[in-house]
C-alpha cells in the first residue's frame, strides 16, 4: 500500500510530493491523503510535522460529505475553514519552536505546511503569508542557504510593501529576519538599519519593554559585539536581560500570590507556567544563555549583571518545571556573589524555590550546598 504508481493515477490528477512538489511515488498509510517522492522526504515530514497533524489532514483533503440542506453545507464549510486556521497556527508554532531549538531542518516542512494552508485560506497576495515566508527564510538562514532565504524575504517584503494594512508586529518580524539575513551576508550596516526598524515596530506594537521587543535588541547587541564595541553591546545585553528579568519575576510573583490566595479555597494547585508559548520559551533560553556566556567571557568587573541573568534563568527553568536546570542556575549564582561580595540577593531565591514544595527531590542537595556556603 505504501507505494503508488504515478502512471496508474487517473488522468489530470497529479500527485505531488508534500515536501518538494515532485511527482509522488509513496503515500502515507495512516492518512492516505499525503504523498511523497521518496522515503527521505516522507521521513523528514513525519519527523517534523506530519506525525502531529496526520489525522487532521484527512477531512481537509477528502471531498466534503454530502449535505442535505444549505444550512448544513454552510456549517460544513465553516468547520473546514476553522480546521484550516487551526492547522495554520499549529504548524506555525511548531516550526517556530524547532527554529528556536536550532532544528532548522525539521522546521522547513512545518513552515511549508503553514504557508500552503495560508495560501488556501487567504489567497496568494495576502499579508497573512508573510509570517510563513519569514519562518522559511529563517530556517533557510539556519541551514546556510542564504540565496533561498533572500528569495523568501524578498517575497515577504514585496507582499508587505503592496499591502496597506500590515500590522506593526509583522513589520517587526520582517525587519528582524532581514536583519538576520544581512548579518549572514556580513553586511552589518544594512543589518543595523533593519534591526533598528525591527525594534521600532516592535515597540509600536508591544511597547519598548516587552519580551517580544527584546529579540531585536539582542541581535543588535550581537552586531555591536562582533564590531568590538563592547560598551555598547554590554548596555544592550543588559537591557535584554532586564526586560526578561522584569517579565519573569513579575510573573513569578503573580503566580506565588495566586497560589497563596487560592489553594485553601479550592484545594487546587496552580501549575507552574511562564505565560509564554513554547517558541518564546525556547527563545528566552537561547538569548539568556548566550548572554550569560558572553558576560562570563568578557566582563569580570560587573558581576551583578551575571547574577541577574542567572537569576532570570533560574526563574525561567523553575517556571518551566525543569528543576534540575533551575538548580544549576541557582547554585551557580552564590559562588559569583560570594566571590565578589557584592550581591547576596541570590541566596533568598535559592531558599524560596524549595520552599514552594515542588522540587522535593532536590531539596536535600540544595540545603547541603546552602549550609556549605553560609
Amino acid at each position: 500500500m505504501n507505494v503508488i504508481y504515478p502512471l496508474a493515477v487517473p488522468k489530470g490528477r497529479r500527485l505531488c510530493c508534500e515536501v518538494c512538489e515532485a511527482p509522488a511515488e509513496r503515500m502515507c498509510t495512516a492518512c492516505t491523503v499525503t504523498y511523497y517522492c521518496g522515503p527521505v522526504h516522507q521521513k523528514a515530514d513525519w519527523g517534523s510535522i506530519h506525525a502531529k497533524i496526520c489525522q487532521l489532514l484527512i477531512p481537509l483533503r477528502t471531498s466534503m460529505p454530502f449535505f442535505n440542506s444549505e444550512e448544513e453545507r454552510q456549517h460544513g464549510l465553516q468547520q473546514l475553514q476553522r480546521r484550516q486556521e487551526h492547522l495554520i497556527e499549529f504548524c506555525y508554532t511548531v516550526a517556530q519552536k524547532y527554529l528556536f531549538e536550532g532544528r532548522h531542518e525539521d522546521a522547513v516542512p512545518a513552515a511549508l505546511h503553514s504557508l500552503r494552508f495560508r495560501m488556501n485560506v487567504h489567497g496568494l497576495s495576502s499579508v497573512e503569508l508573510v509570517p510563513a515566508y519569514l519562518l522559511l527564510a529563517e530556517a533557510s538562514l539556519g541551514l546556510g542557504r542564504i540565496v533561498q532565504a533572500e528569495e523568501y524575504l524578498s517575497q515577504a517584503q514585496w507582499t508587505v510593501l503592496k499591502s496597506t494594512d500590515c500590522s506593526n508586529a509583522t513589520h517587526s518580524l520582517l525587519h528582524r529576519n532581514l536583519g538576520l539575513l544581512y548579518i549572514a551576508k556580513k553586511n552589518l550596516e544594512e543589518a543595523r538599519y533593519h534591526l533598528a526598524n525591527d525594534i521600532y515596530f516592535a515597540s509600536c506594537a508591544f511597547g519598548t519593554e516587552d519580551v517580544r521587543t527584546s529579540g531585536g535588541y539582542f541581535h543588535l547587541a550581537n552586531i555591536f559585539y562582533s564590531l568590538k564595541k563592547m560598551e555598547l553591546a554590554d548596555t544592550l545585553y543588559t537591557k535584554v536581560s532586564e526586560i526578561w528579568y522584569t517579565y519573569l519575576s513579575s510573573h513569578y510573583q503573580a503566580l506565588l500570590h495566586a497560589r497563596t490566595q487560592q489553594t485553601d479555597l479550592l484545594g487546587k494547585q496552580f501549575m507552574n507556567d511562564t505565560g509564554l508559548d513554547e517558541a518564546q520559551e525556547a527563545e528566552a533560553i537561547r538569548i539568556l544563555t548566550s548572554i550569560l556566556i558572553i558576560q562570563e567571557s568578557t566582563s569580570t568587573q560587573a558581576p551583578q549583571k551575571g547574577i541577574l541573568i542567572l537569576k532570570t534563568l533560574g526563574i525561567l527553568y523553575y517556571l518551566m518545571l525543569e528543576f534540575s536546570k533551575a538548580q544549576v542556575a541557582a547554585v551557580s549564582q552564590p559562588p559569583v556573589a560570594v566571590r565578589t561580595q557584592a550581591d547576596r540577593t541570590a541566596v533568598p531565591l535559592l531558599k524560596r524555590m524549595p520552599a514552594t514544595g515542588q522540587a522535593l527531590n532536590i531539596q536535600h542537595g540544595w540545603h547541603g550546598q546552602l549550609s556549605s556556603l553560609l
Binding site: 538599519y193 533598528a196 525594534i199 519598548t208 519593554e209 555591536f224 560598551e231 544592550l236
Partner: protein
C-alpha cells in the same frame, strides 16, 4: 570619456531657462557632446541621473519620527529611543485625558515638529554617549539643555520630565562639590512650586539652600546661587503660610514665616528681609498678636527707610495702621495712614491712595467726624475716577454717599427736633431741591450748596431731578 568641443546651438530664452532648472542636465556638457564608449554609460548615469538611495527612499516613505527613532537605534542609543518613545506615548495619554474631559486639545504632537525631534536626537544621543563613558556632568548639561529648550507653556511636561532626569543624574555628580545637585534641586523646587505642591517644593528648596550655604557659586546670569535659594525658599514659605492662613492655622503659618525671615536674614538681602518681616507682621495681625505684629512691622519700616524704598515704607505704614486700628488706637492709625497717603500720592499709586483714603474715611466715620470722613471718601472717589475703574468707582461712590448722608443726618435731626417754622422751611426747601445741606450748629441754618459742588456729584443731581416724579 571623449568629449568633443561644444556645438554652437541656438536656443530660445525659455529653453535656456528650462534647461537650467532641469536637475539632470549638466550645464557645461550638452548631450550631443557625449559620445558613449563601451562601458562609459555607468559613469554618466552615476554622475547625472541619480536614483534615490535606500535612505532617501526610506526618508520619503516613513514619518520623520520613525526615521529619528531608527537613526538612534542603529547607532545603539537604545536608552534615548526608549525615552523619546515613552515621551510620545505620554503625549498620547495626555491628549486622551484631555479628550475625556472634553477639552479642546491644541498642542501638536511631537511627531509633527521636526525641529523638536532634531533637538531630542541631538541632546539625547550625546547624553547617552556621555553616560556610557561615565561623564555625568556632560549628561547633565545635555539633559538640562533639553529642559531649557522645552521651557515654554505648551511643553511644560517635557521640561518637567527632563528636570527630574537632571535631578537623578545630578546626584551622581560628585566632582563639583554639589553645584549641579544644587541646581537640580532648584529645578525640582520650581517644578513642584508650579504644580502647587508647596511642601515638596519647600523640601527641595531647603536642600538647595543647604547645598549652597557658604558657597560662592553663580548661575549663568551672574547671580549668587545662595541668594536665589534664599529668595525661592522665602517665596515658597510665604505661599505656604498663605495657604495656612486661609485654613486659619495661624501658629504654623507664623512658625514658617519666622523660619523664612531667618533665612532672609542669612541671605544678606535687606529688601528680602523686610519683605519677610512684612508677611510675618501680617500673620501676627491675622492671629491677633498685635504687639508682636507692631514690633515686626517696625523693623520692616526701619529696613525700608534705610533702603530708601518709599513703596515698601508705605506698605509698612499701611500694615501698621491696620494693626493699630484693630487695637483701637485710632489716632495712631490715622497718623500712619496719613503718611501712607502722602507716600502713595508722591509715587502716583492711585490704588494705594484709594485704599488709604477709604480706610481713613472709615475711621473718621466711626469716630463720628463725618466731615472729614466725607472729605477722604471724596478723595478716594475722585482718584478712582481718574483711574477709571468702574468697580472701584462704584465702591467708593457708595462709601462717599454714606458719609454724606451721615453728615447731613445731624442737621436734619436738629431741624426736626427744634420743630419751629424756620426749620420746617428749611426742611421743605431741602425736600424740593434735595441739595447739599451743611451742618451749622450755631445758626441752625441750611445753606444751599454751591453750584459747582453739585456739579461734582452727578448722583446728587440725579436725585434732584427724579424727586418730583417720586412725589
Amino acid at each position: 570619456m571623449a568629449t568633443f568641443p561644444p556645438l554652437s546651438m541656438t536656443r530660445t530664452k525659455l529653453a535656456v531657462l528650462a534647461r537650467q532648472k532641469l536637475p539632470c542636465s549638466s550645464k557645461s556638457i550638452p548631450r550631443a557632446q557625449l559620445i558613449k564608449e563601451k562601458d562609459d554609460i555607468d559613469y554618466y548615469l552615476e554622475q547625472n541621473i541619480k536614483g534615490l538611495s535606500k535612505e532617501e527612499v526610506a526618508a520619503h516613505r516613513n514619518s520623520y519620527k520613525k526615521s529619528i527613532c531608527v537613526d538612534m537605534l542603529r547607532d545603539g542609543f537604545h536608552k534615548s529611543f526608549t525615552e523619546l518613545f515613552s515621551l510620545m506615548e505620554q503625549w498620547d495619554k495626555l491628549r486622551e485625558a484631555a479628550q475625556a474631559r472634553s477639552l479642546f486639545w491644541l498642542q501638536r504632537p511631537l511627531e509633527d515638529q521636526p525641529d523638536k525631534l532634531d533637538n531630542f536626537y541631538h541632546y539625547l544621543t550625546k547624553a547617552e554617549a556621555a553616560e556610557r563613558k561615565g561623564y555625568y556632568e556632560e549628561v547633565y548639561n545635555n539633559l538640562y539643555a533639553l529642559a531649557c529648550y522645552f521651557d515654554n507653556s505648551e511643553d511644560k511636561w517635557v521640561r518637567n520630565h527632563f528636570y527630574e532626569r537632571c535631578f537623578k543624574i545630578a546626584q551622581l555628580i560628585k566632582v563639583d562639590g554639589g553645584k549641579k545637585e544644587a541646581e537640580a534641586e532648584a529645578h525640582m523646587g520650581l517644578l513642584y512650586e508650579e504644580e502647587g505642591e508647596l511642601l515638596k517644593a519647600a523640601e527641595h528648596y531647603e536642600a538647595f539652600h543647604e547645598l549652597t550655604q557658604g558657597r560662592l557659586w553663580k548661575d549663568a546670569t551672574g547671580q549668587f546661587l545662595n541668594l536665589i535659594a534664599c529668595e525661592s525658599l522665602v517665596r515658597t514659605y510665604r505661599l505656604l503660610s498663605d495657604r495656612m492662613l486661609q485654613n486659619r492655622d495661624y501658629k504654623q503659618a507664623i512658625k514658617i514665616l519666622i523660619k523664612a525671615s531667618e533665612i532672609a536674614r542669612e541671605g544678606n538681602d535687606r529688601s528680602m528681609e523686610g519683605e519677610a518681616s512684612y508677611y510675618l507682621g501680617l500673620a501676627h495681625l491675622a492671629s491677633g498678636e498685635y504687639e508682636t505684629a507692631l514690633s515686626v512691622l517696625d523693623r520692616y519700616s526701619e529696613i525700608s527707610t534705610s533702603l530708601d524704598d518709599e513703596l515698601s515704607l508705605g506698605r509698612a505704614y499701611e500694615a501698621m495702621a491696620k494693626v493699630l486700628q484693630s487695637q483701637g488706637e485710632m489716632t495712631e492709625a490715622i497718623k500712619y495712614l496719613e503718611k501712607f497717603v502722602v507716600i502713595a500720592r508722591n509715587n502716583f499709586k492711585s490704588l494705594d491712595v484709594i485704599q488709604a483714603c477709604t480706610m481713613l474715611g472709615d475711621i473718621y466715620n466711626e469716630k463720628g467726624q463725618y466731615n472729614k470722613a466725607s472729605d477722604y471718601f471724596q478723595q478716594a472717589f475722585s482718584t478712582a475716577m481718574e483711574v477709571t475703574k468702574t468697580t472701584l468707582m462704584d465702591e467708593t461712590k457708595v462709601h462717599y454717599g454714606i458719609a454724606r448722608a451721615h453728615q447731613m443726618m445731624l442737621t436734619m435731626n436738629g431741624y426736626i427736633e427744634s420743630a419751629d417754622m424756620n426749620s420746617l422751611n428749611c426742611l421743605l426747601s431741602w425736600k424740593e431741591t434735595r441739595t447739599q445741606v451743611e451742618y451749622d450748629p450755631i445758626l441752625g441754618e441750611a445753606r444751599k450748596a454751591t453750584e459747582d459742588n453739585i456739579y461734582q456729584f452727578p448722583d446728587a443731581q440725579e436725585e434732584t431731578r427724579r424727586s418730583p416724579e417720586n412725589q
